[in-house]
Symmetry: D2
Subunit: 361 residues, 4 copies
């Protein structure tokens, strides 16, 4: 996990700025013989694509991914991975650079502008450059590969909170998630959220969100003690997504309020000698290693920093000024974070799976 | 960040089980010429030492650390780092192995027992082995070295919540933290917590906690885009601490409930052209890079899993059984997590500082 | 150094097969503010380009490199690096796939065919796929970036032996290297080599070579003890080049034949207190760390494995067969290895420079 | 491979100076369930131990290794690895520090003194500190663990050249290697070498050597393309040994003198469909991946730099001076490099085995 690279045996390096010629990812260490086509990756990209509803940015890119390397046609005519690096490239075609001229010399509050400038002395300000949410397209593309590496694992995400408004856990229905444009598992909450998002959009404001991502089918034993812990790597992976400010596993922060008795996930013997857990406060991870239960993670996304209300800021010469961020933006960047969270979960699991197989066999 | 190693340029590898001959850390990549004595590290270890109050485990080890390598006497008679690996070793002297015989073949709910067994097929069950909170002594020792690498940065931690009882933020006073055995910055909360901890201890139960760690004096510019983000590495480092279930930066999960206007940290021009921020919802990190504000992180620790109430579990043969975890234990493992959280923050910052200096100069 | 990635702070990940859509490199960790244009990289690629003389393969690709990310126009109108990943892409345009159909199911002796098949179960056989010398174009492109990171260091390479015929060290003249198509520093040897290469080409045979690469201007202090040694990383980098079978530093294998007295490079005091060495058997590296002398490395390249004489081999079904490798090939792949060796030296030095600056300041 | 750490899944971090309290290694990533005792490691250390004959340094340390972590007694009473880090510690007991006072302020030619001082500004000069050949004890200890990870592979080393005097390849007999104190496979050469070593010792001089290390039983498929190549990692591992100036694989530098026809290792079909090679110029590696043939590597060790003839040098104040290195030293440090080379080969193979199993299964 260094600079722009994530993973150990299944390594994803992403590159690209919002308004450069292209962005993409190199997936190194993918096992050979896995069927993989650009169409599948494109399908995954569709889910995070901007411009799908009035609640997400109006940038309308086809996100047409190309596989530049690492696949070949096998004896059965299938295109499969060869074990060599899989380079994925997505051209940037819808770049309205003129929209961003105003921000060339002003630092937008809540954005990475000031920090990048302090670090590097220069930044590609167009659309946020490297810090743009557009970078997550490369993660989703790489995540589509990762999913195939852990094909027996089902990874799903849902929006469980917008602003202060949470779903009703009793009504949680995974099949609803794909039926609305908000990845919401509770249809009543979805309707409320549509109203509040409309309101935020009209006001030029924005709202935050909480996303839950789960993985079913992970066997007991993936992960590593101490620093390569499954939950520590999930925390890093999810916190690395743009605008994320918090990550929790299982009961998460609420665990602090439980007694030891309530928090302990008791066990009974299953048919095959494996444990059947009577609860899942641990979120499927104990001591950094999977227990065979569903892996459960949640992460909080701050409200989109691009808003129409003028905000106080400074310019690159150090003078006081104000800024209004115009252009195409999401009132809630958390919506698109759902497939990104799934992708990062998939990448972490693919890496941990290969590492486990390497060490333990 | 792999298996038992953390960091990139400033690398910490820890080793050791709770009841093996010794545990320790190898700190690789420490800059040369930094004064370092065993006494200083011992001082840091004192703060996390068990047996200090009735609220922490009664294991009474002196935690006498030895520096096995990497230091030498300079021309001024000071013992300084030489740039070579600093090996730190802490002998395990107070090992009451007989206490743990009962758990050899039973998996304690909430502990790593089952997961380790599923992964490795064998585990050192004595005191939790590698998954024991005792491993954090090695982190604190390494953290003492890290602090000296970022000597201009002040890193402090405090307990801000026990169970559901939070401190009063209006009364937050850093000087109080060292005056009570609970690292509590609010003296009224400290008194309430003492009562509830006494109660938990009498009941053989346990409670969770939330810890806040801050770093003042980090200049703008440390961190890296995308996967080497300062906040992502903090998340990984803090989540890797035993029993941690959640991590947040700045406003954290509460950021989801803010509007874009409220969340944006506005800026004014400071004397030296650097930004003065009017708030710190970001917790000192934007786009994965420090902004010059105070770095603020919080993490949630679950209630100690070792409790006196019998819990349902299975044994290593897959049979149903019950378990009561006797022995020396903390009613709130979160207390000792305060210096551990500080140590991990120091390690992350030392690493990011060296990486920044390497890339940018 | 993992799979397809080289370097620690200055990290180069390459991707691509000989006959896939494209190949390239992602350079992660490059310092910001360095002027960089595609034209410069293209210039570096020109030096290794096939089709330049009758002694190198007749594949005539323009090697037109695109910079996909990581650069931006600064305030002075210069295109500079921004500190984010620099993705470099070279399209594969001259792919005569039909040439390679015969080798789809036969393993060419001396090639990676059999080993790839044993490892991955599938391989892109076209032109050698990932194992093609064409992959070195990505290294040379990345090396062009690395050279700019260590702009004060002069890195040069020369062919010092073809077959058993060595240059006359007395006649070594760096200015000659760019005057002939064989990178030969001794004009008389160049003429002899042209004859022997013509002969090899006519006979459908091939010859090996030894390349010397030097770096002048490296200050004392780069490198690291034990496993991150400057010479160990050079050895890895040069051995990773296709067809390389040996690497030596300074006196190299000849050092084994020297006495301790003859081998020791004595020192005298220079004007600035730095050492002036009276000889350079060490090749500029002691204890894994640069001494301020010229870094000297040599590597041996085996004869091109693609030859016109039929060779015994087996096919993918395990049957005995014969093979003749037709198509466009170098009689001496070692010639093109000169700029590749320079590139790898540059990458190692850029990485060690940044690591040194990180650790020591 | 960074600073003081080697390997990717099977990671070895070593620490310690020649005259500090102790040196050792942390082996992280070792698979669980492998029987491992200190006695076995001690046995391996015996082979490299100084003081065994009049040709090696007279330092007489017992090299008594302790296993501090990572092993536990399994159900059958065997002490086995648990999958957690294995910390190995060797106390430094025979430290005659007074011998080294003279070199505190003088840089010994051929030693790392000057380079360490230039890099770090301070060095532990006693016995060479971190750059002492004593560090290789930690490698041999870690190598003993690595051998057990690849238990089906036979790894052996031999001295094949001392000074300019090579063994007769026709007389190569592995059983001879353990019969003389020079690891020499040719008894006639062993007698000649004893004479020349006696002469060097009497003259206070030293001689270089070439070591060959082989691994039999490595299946086809270990390794990785491009930068994680099996031969590239071997080159790095062997070049990282003290005093090594050259590494070659298979035919090595001699390959440069072969024709393509002579160099190609032809194949015939074996009983099981696997290739039977008719020669092994490749040294068991093609395209960075093992072929199933014997892995063959050689490395050149320069003559011991500590000699009794006065040499010109400078002191730490930049003044001209002379130095004679007294004390206990080997006339040929290459002898003890034999078990070290075996250890590094074992570490590389253990790592590549686990990585292969991780990626390919």
């Amino acid at each position: 996990m260094s600079h722009n690279c994530f993973g150990h045996l299944f390594r994803v390096t992403t590159f690209g700025e919002s308004h450069g010629p292209a962005l993409g990812a190199v997936v190194d260490g993918c096992p050979p013989g896995i069927e993989l086509t650009a169409a599948e990756i494109r399908h995954a990209l569709e889910r995070r694509r901007p411009g799908q509803s009035r609640f997400t940015t109006q940038r309308r890119e086809p996100d047409d991914v190309k596989i530049l390397s690492g696949v070949f046609t096998d004896g059965n005519g299938r295109q499969v991975t060869t074990g060599t690096p899989i380079a994925l490239m997505i051209d940037n075609t819808d770049q309205r650079t003129k929209d961003y001229n105003e921000i060339a010399n002003k630092f937008r509050p809540g954005h990475a502008d000031y920090a990048y400038d302090a670090k590097y002395g220069i930044r590609d300000y167009r659309g946020g450059g490297r810090a743009s949410a557009r970078e997550t397209a490369a993660r989703v593309a790489a995540g589509a590969v990762a999913r195939k590496v852990v094909a027996g694992v089902s990874i799903r995400g849902a929006l469980v909170q917008i602003g202060a408004d949470r779903i009703d856990r009793e009504r949680f229905d995974w099949s609803e998630v794909e039926r609305n444009s908000l990845f919401c598992p509770d249809p009543r909450a979805a309707r409320r959220w549509e109203d509040s998002l409309d309101e935020a959009r009209r006001a030029g404001s924005s709202v935050g969100a909480v996303i839950e991502v789960i993985a079913e089918g992970v066997p007991a034993g993936w992960g590593a003690p101490i620093y390569g812990k499954l939950d520590a790597e999930l925390a890093s992976a999810l916190m690395s997504i743009n605008a994320v400010k918090g990550v929790e596993i299982g009961a998460g922060f609420a665990a602090a309020e439980l007694s030891g008795e309530a928090n302990a996930d008791e066990m009974r013997s299953g048919n095959d000698g494996r444990a059947v857990f009577l609860s899942n406060h641990a979120g499927g991870v104990l001591g950094g290693i999977s227990t065979g239960q569903t892996i459960v993670a949640r992460f909080a996304v701050k409200p989109t920093s691009s808003i129409l209300t003028p905000r106080l800021t400074i310019d690159s010469l150090g003078g006081d000024t104000e800024i209004v961020t115009k252009g195409r933006h999401d009132p809630c960047v958390g919506i698109r974070a759902v497939p990104v969270g799934e992708a990062m979960m998939a990448i972490v699991l693919a890496d941990q799976f290969l590492r486990h197989r390497g060490q333990v066999g």
